[in-house]
Subunit: 321 residues, 3 copies
């Protein structure tokens, strides 16, 4: 049975929860009580599922015993852990590509141990000092993937290797779209996932990453038509936007999912027509992202997702898990 | 009895529904099932009434049998059709003025056949190629009505002619305010409607059209005081706005009705003090306009419209139907 | 028992209610029925408490009999009056400093007569003509406190004098943060309140005033860590914001409390960790500020404030009343 508004898995991102404790230790070293408090805050905001964004805890770096404790903390609080999002750990990073690949493999194993369904990775790299100095890091240019066949081939090979590992573990791998990487446009993302050519590797069509830039952008609806056949997990977030080309002005601001530039009503129609049944993860930058995410979940369940299971579900090009 | 929050007619605009089908035909040629699906989506979003915006179906171009089928589709779904909005079909268009006038007459007849109460027309003309190339078409200048007495007289005469026809059919005609037309400012709009001087011809005080421009704007509250005595139908939408005159910067973004620049609480107080009892149509550009419109309807019913019928209703200068 | 989401005092600001009646008289001269109508509108919007912002009624200028009538109007409608906000009446105003001091004393006495708990004052002065000519007055520079020890000493002395008076009356005094005054940064605000050094004088950490400016701003979270130990009343409002430093572009727009730049979830965690138990006043500029404030109150009670009284309350540096 396809998912409906009632049972579709919607997780909360943990973007607002820091990876460093007040005493300077990494949250991986925290007491289980700290993890439990975070899970409880997310649950109390209205979520029954959490995306283990690795800017918070890094499951790939936890011991087996600590992983069990993390899972127990989630169980105690009553939240599921359907997904892990790995960010800024590109497998083609010039200095750390191999280390990031190893970490991604460990994260897949952690995901299996936690009973997750999907791991999301990307090709975006560390924020530059200039990016860190901005109110919003996306308002200045950052890292760019090189326009070199060799690097692209390496990305294909390493991501396919991760896809095979995911398959062995009963998981799927999702590739997060992000500007100036090989996953930076609809066409380049489709080209990459088609070159990887593995049923367990699809796209995380995080169009919010792309519509917030202070430069011309692709039309989101045209993008959605191209990428949704490959979607297998989805970071949903929205931005309001204005442009004044004659004045070289671009403005973008984090917005509730309902009232931003992307119509998630329409985007989900396109996704469902292309067989999407993946986990949805609510992200929101700036301010009280957790509360906005909770409002976003309500919007999705009340206005966007199908109310009954008798809808026409298209065929995806990738496995949905 | 004057309307209250419970029974005031609030329709949804169909701005997000395209006039062209996937197979290239106009939606006028669609199967009735397609029309029914659109009406059902609007109803499921929370509306019991629909504005037949003619960027979607063009009732004035439907045969009598197809008009009946359209009405039956609405009845089947359970939505009313209190209004038709005709856009970009100016009766003083240099090339198509007479054809637009004829079409407007046919639309009035269609409105009567559908049991509607009001038809909204305007003097805005087709978007320019430059406008179509922008993220938001209103960020560059478009068509302007000529500063010529002859053209203005023609507008007055033809709109009065439509008003008379509306009266014969038991309808009212509403003139949509729009920048750079004779309906582009509060004063020019009042001048036009007073020159037309027909009780069935009033204003559609669509101030949202005017506050989103990338240039200095009229104060909306001062506008409302001038135009509300003539309001007989109302496209409500809102924008958030910032200006930095010293930097020649203007920013405007579609916003929920509650949180944009115009206070609809205050605007309705002014409207009611001037006898307004017209149909309200929720419009919203960009993104999931239908869901935002549904939220806007809730806002109007919960926070803005009178809770009981014992309020002081002023006297309008035009018929409210 | 510390406050919870259910019983924390949250008042509505009256920013949208003008101080001048249609007939030109000041609202202080209005019939009691007018005051009652305003209180009823605020109550119907969802509030049980009102902040007597003195851009509307000026309690410090009401006679004893009229003050009683004002209190009775509030009682009749069923709203409490826990706070009075005095604005743009700086006690160090070059021309009117002594008059403003006298007025502030009278306002404290009025507050006691009304059964209020807190009076908020500030050092911001009258808007300049240039500020009044803008869409948003904060987009151009206004009055600045002088960089002179003598003026600062006078501010300290006069505000301490008001604090002593407040204490005698069983009240507390709160100092509103505002750009370009001695209360314009976190550090200067802490310095001022520490120099005043009176337990009944604390800060109104109105960070919304500071994050809307068209210039670089302090990080709100770093500010909150510094100022919250001194908070004893709180004007809460939020803005969405974008910057593009390379283009010298700053954009800020009034936003719902949930979805603006400041995370009030986090800000209240910091406040509570520093013993905050003060009255919360919902302000919102532009548009339907009262309805947005009502939504903001819901957000605070549903997502931000503690659900039960067993939370860890830190120790404040000032009295909370």
């Amino acid at each position: 049975m396809p998912y409906t508004a009632q049972d579709w898995l919607i997780s909360a991102a943990l973007l607002q929860f820091p990876g460093t404790l007040d005493d300077g230790r990494h949250v991986n070293e925290a007491d289980v009580a700290h993890w439990r408090d975070v899970f409880a805050e997310v649950r109390d905001a209205g979520f029954s599922d959490v995306d283990l964004f690795d800017g918070w805890v890094r499951p790939g770096d936890l011991s087996s015993a600590r992983l069990t404790a993390l899972k127990e903390a989630a169980d105690d609080v009553g939240v599921g852990l359907p997904a892990i999002s790995v960010v800024r750990s590109s497998v083609i990073d010039a200095a750390n590509g191999q280390a990031n690949l190893d970490y991604s493999h460990r994260t897949l194993e952690a995901a299996a141990a936690l009973g997750s369904r999907v791991v999301s990775v990307g090709l975006h790299q560390a924020l530059t000092p200039a990016q860190k100095a901005q109110l919003w890091f996306w308002t200045v240019e950052g890292y760019k993937d090189p326009d070199e066949r060799e690097a692209w081939d390496l990305a294909v090979a390493r991501l396919r290797e991760l896809g095979k590992h995911a398959e062995e573990l009963g998981l799927i791998l999702s590739l997060e779209m992000y500007e100036d990487t090989y996953l930076g446009t609809a066409d380049s993302s489709v080209a990459l996932v088609e070159a990887i050519d593995h049923p367990c590797v699809g796209l995380n069509p995080d169009m919010g990453n792309l519509i917030r830039l202070h430069r011309p952008i692709e039309n989101w609806e045209a993008m959605a038509e191209k990428i949704m056949p490959y979607a297998n997990y989805w970071h949903v977030k929205n931005y309001q936007r204005d442009e004044d080309i004659a004045r070289d002005m671009y403005v973008a601001m984090p917005a509730p999912l309902e009232s931003g530039l992307i119509s998630y009503r329409k985007a989900f129609q396109i996704a469902i027509a292309n067989g999407f049944q993946g986990v949805i993860c609510c992200e929101h930058y700036g301010g009280d992202g957790l509360s906005v995410s909770a409002s976003n979940q309500r919007y999705l369940r009340e206005q966007v997702l199908p109310r009954s299971a008798d809808y026409a579900l298209g065929e995806s090009r990738v496995r949905q898990n």
